[in-house]
Subunit: 599 residues, 2 copies
């Protein structure tokens, strides 16, 4: 039987101890630090006296297997701070000493150790640890783990500290699970959006423009434009109103909303203008939308008011964490803010959830989960606005609606927005990789703070609730996800070039050109590949660009008014009357079909 | 016969002297400074010992008329610097002294005075002046001028200097011309885009966001979106490729293009990032587009390449000169850059010119002129890149093409872009007011500077020419112009709300609702005005919003499936079958007709 997620967590956490023990056995003068479980296994950070490389992985793995097979048990012990410090000092492990001293500063009186003990009762390894382990190392599958990579990591994540060596380990409950994971990684590598983005010429980065700031080439822009068109259509149908707002604002806008207090580290630095005024690039569109809401007296008859914008925001990320389209500094957000009464909240929130599901269907996303992020009472007044009752009330409201949707959701503490709870939507790509794609947030705080009001039926002024939603997230992340999800084989409606037309030889150019012209005339995105290069070379070029259909036009086709169709994704070939090809393909595009009808 | 533009210029310049003489006669202790002719008359800057107000205008105008009627002549005299300084020192006119001393520093040996002399040969007024006057004050029409306004103005335009009082005078060649001008101003006031923008709720400014940064409300966004849709359609048809680029870039991008050297004062201040790196808001899209061009090897077969973007740029303007949508800090530009060979230049440039003409026709712009802005050899190396031969060659190229177009154009020295000559398109609104709307520039410098290359037919690497064009200019300015041009009565395809449906009374709501639903179903922008307010009040509200059609639905209409149509612009009324209304209106919208078919 597959282990539960807690069991797997314990296996992974225990594997980290086994890794540390193995390293200690092999290089006894190594400083050990910390090693938590993660989604796909665990890691441990070490300070080696001599650098290691992935060539050392087999010997570490062998030592780990040896430890696992010994069936060592995990035993907990509790020690007063003073004794604990003395113990680690004696062992010469200064990072552990520092950790314990910090715990003492936070008021801890004692700490727990986890010991490994072998069959003979001999102590084989000790770590400072809060627990969450298996009973015996035998519970860790000896063929279910694999050392994956090395990375540099600063002690406690701060650049001012020493640099450590992090060893990542994939840990799964069985050999098969590990294999599936490795296959997925292998496939993900092939589908890497940075690699495909280059092959398909979708976006570029420029050192002169800056890291994390993608420039969308004509082909990538087609995808972004099609996504935007889709979102606009859906939103128009759902009664949204579009607005356009500047990309900058005075600092005092963000002081009032609380962004400068709670979010400054993610904002770009200010520009000094007109003397002392500070202007910021907008990290979010909401404060601007609030200004539009506030620019007119509003009545309950105006609500719900849904202001939508493809707003381009800028967020500061350390250059080290930037990653292709997945972690960027410029974000094209499919954003909207719905101002509503408390009674309207449920319907609005449900409508947004349904919008997500519509998009998932269009993209063929089969697995998703809603992460319901809550506040943490300990962080009130710091990470979160200090309104404990409103937090609980709003979280209850959202929980109630989420239960009604019947969607699967999990609750995650301490990940809310500073102004209210949020639902992040996690989806799995076709190869089973997880992405956070979209967000849906409830804001019970900022509307009051910035003075948003409406006159209710009873003539009283009230504060609207505000739902922030971005079902297509940002173009950057979504397109990055879709590239991997589709392995570059976009559905026709999203494909930068939908059809390539290839004359077999120069003699067939007149017919091929007329085919291309007819398709263009119908509004299709067509590339004409003239017969300068060999047919094989052109077919390969079309395949590399993942153009859905390659239409080869030779003598027979010219005679029959037909086309020889190669479906690049399925690799199937068929010959159709041109008219039939046009009719089927246009229908696929108009209906935004996931799979092309031909081949 | 109407005077030539030089004659009018002389009349206006002479009127400035008459104004100064009148002021001197009335307030002899006034310091006089300078007073040039301008487009609609002239102004003169004074330092008064006691403030004046527009209540003093009649007495000044009377004195001016007196001077005009005297038929004073203008006489030129030349004086060595030393004598000139002594003369003005003696007169106690310190600003004149400063001006002469500065001329001396620039190497002038003598200066000219223009004297007014009356019939008796008596000297009535003297000014330091380069000339360009009528012979006698009688040539200034005594009923063709009017004092318009007072304004504060710093001596030599610098905030660090003394503040002067500027008197603006409208000066025309006849009473009728003056009257036409005053009527136009009156009409322009009624059509003021700031006033109509508020009444029609098209855009707002927020003190929290900042001056010069309009926020487009849902209604204004409709206009911006429709313009963008139009431009995209036209550009797609003309073979443009769309791109999307970030709103910021590293300073070194703008160092390389020359923007920081030539354009810094119009750029926003930098943001300091990642240590020492400076990032700027983009003032133009070209450097980003160049990066996309440069991201791939290019061949002559890729040219012309036309990269288009509705790029949002930011330019710094002093807060004092910001004006509604006309002078802003955020610009939504209908931008594109065409990279082409020298042989392709003519065709590309002509195509752009034709695009302008298409737009003018759509907007009903009947009068326009192309201002061909040239460099000034004296500013080479300062305002302009220091490549004198290339300037002359490119200006000749453009001149040749302009002559071919047959469009009216005038040549204006010293107004080019720093990288090449440009054509600014000036248009006249329906009430005869002049606006600079669009621009078309040739760049012979930056492509080489940033290393743009293509491989030509002969295998050699060459540098493409770059045409910068923005036929719809910026949304801000264009929409500001269109509001005034149409007096808010936008053609159906541009109108934020196209049709309002008004039931006469509550009893007619079911029919009226079904009418509204049918129009919406057809994709029209419909506002349903329910019978809570009186019909009269709702009609006035619809008129104030300049909704093209108000459809009144009463008993008769419900019975006949018809609608009573009020054309808000023409104020005409008619009753039509609903089906006919729909058919005609849809055709007007699809064809982007200037005038609505009904009424």
């Amino acid at each position: 039987m597959a282990p539960s997620s807690e069991e797997l967590h314990a296996i992974r956490h225990s594997a980290a101890h086994v890794l540390a023990q193995a390293v200690e056995n092999l290089w006894p003068d190594t400083q050990i630090t910390i090693g938590p479980p993660i989604d796909t296994g665990c890691y441990y950070d070490f300070l080696f006296t001599k650098p290691i490389s992935d060539e050392d992985f087999p010997v570490i793995e062998k030592e780990m297997r040896h430890i696992i097979n010994q069936g060592q048990t995990f035993v907990v012990e509790t020690h007063p701070i003073k004794d604990a410090v003395a113990y680690w000092k004696k062992k010469g492990q200064r990072f552990k000493v520092e950790l314990i001293e910090d715990l003492a500063k936070e008021g801890e009186k004692e700490v727990s150790f986890y010991k490994n003990v072998d069959k003979d009762g001999k102590e084989t390894f000790v770590d400072l640890c809060k627990g969450g382990h298996v009973q015996s190392t035998k519970e860790i599958p000896a063929d279910g783990f694999k050392l994956m990579s090395l990375a540099g990591a600063y002690w406690r994540g701060s650049e001012e500290n020493e640099q450590l060596t992090r060893i990542y380990v994939a840990v799964f409950s069985s050999k098969d699970e590990l294999k599936a994971h490795l296959t997925m990684l292998e496939e993900a590598k092939k589908r890497d959006h940075r690699k495909l983005g280059k092959e398909m010429n979708l976006f570029v980065f420029s050192d002169m423009v800056g890291p994390g700031l993608p420039l969308w080439t004509p082909k990538g822009t087609v995808i972004a434009d099609e996504l935007e068109k889709l979102a606009r259509e859906m939103e128009e149908r759902a009664g949204y109103l579009r607005v356009r707002t500047p990309h900058i604002a005075k600092g005092k806008l963000y002081e009032r909303t609380g962004h400068l207090a709670h979010y400054k580290q993610s904002m770009f630095p200010p520009m000094q203008l007109d003397g002392e005024e500070e202007y910021y690039l907008k990290p979010m569109n909401c404060p601007h939308h609030h200004e539009i809401f506030a620019s007119q007296p509003r009545s309950y008859r105006d609500l719900p008011m849904r202001l939508a914008e493809y707003g381009h925001c800028y967020r500061y990320e350390e250059s080290g964490v930037l990653f292709g389209l997945m972690r960027v500094r410029s974000l094209s957000m499919n954003d909207a803010h719905m101002y509503c009464t408390e009674e309207q909240f449920e319907e609005e929130f449900l409508a947004v959830t349904n919008l997500y599901l519509t998009y998932f269907k269009l993209f063929g996303i089969q697995k998703y989960v809603m992460r319901f992020s809550l506040h943490d009472p300990k962080e009130l007044g710091k990470k979160y606005v200090d309104k404990p009752e409103l937090w609980l009330k709003t979280e209850d409201l959202v929980r109630g609606v989420m239960r009604k949707t019947g969607c699967e959701f999990i609750e995650v503490p301490n990940e809310a927005a500073f102004y209210g709870p949020k639902i992040d939507i996690e989806v799995w790509s076709a190869i089973g990789r997880e992405f956070t794609l979209a967000t849906n947030q409830v804001d019970f705080d900022v509307p009051a703070k910035v003075g948003l009001r409406y006159v209710d039926r009873d003539g009283m002024e009230k504060v609207p609730l505000c739902i922030h939603r971005a079902p297509l997230g940002t173009h950057e992340r979504t397109i990055g996800f879709l590239i991997e999800h589709f392995a570059g084989h976009f559905p026709l409606w999203l494909a930068p070039v939908q059809v390539a037309v290839l004359p077999v030889a120069q003699a067939h150019e007149p017919y091929a050109r007329s085919v291309a012209a007819q398709l263009k005339e119908k509004g299709m995105r067509v590339e004409y590949m003239d017969a300068v290069d060999s047919l094989g070379k052109r077919i390969r070029a079309g395949e590399q660009q993942r153009i859905p259909y390659l239409l080869v036009c030779g003598e027979k086709e010219a005679k029959d008014s037909s086309v020889a169709v190669r479906n690049v994704k399925t690799k199937e070939q068929s010959t159709l009357a041109l008219a039939e090809f046009i009719q089927k393909t246009l229908a696929d595009i108009t209906e935004r079909k996931l799979e092309a009808s031909i081949g």
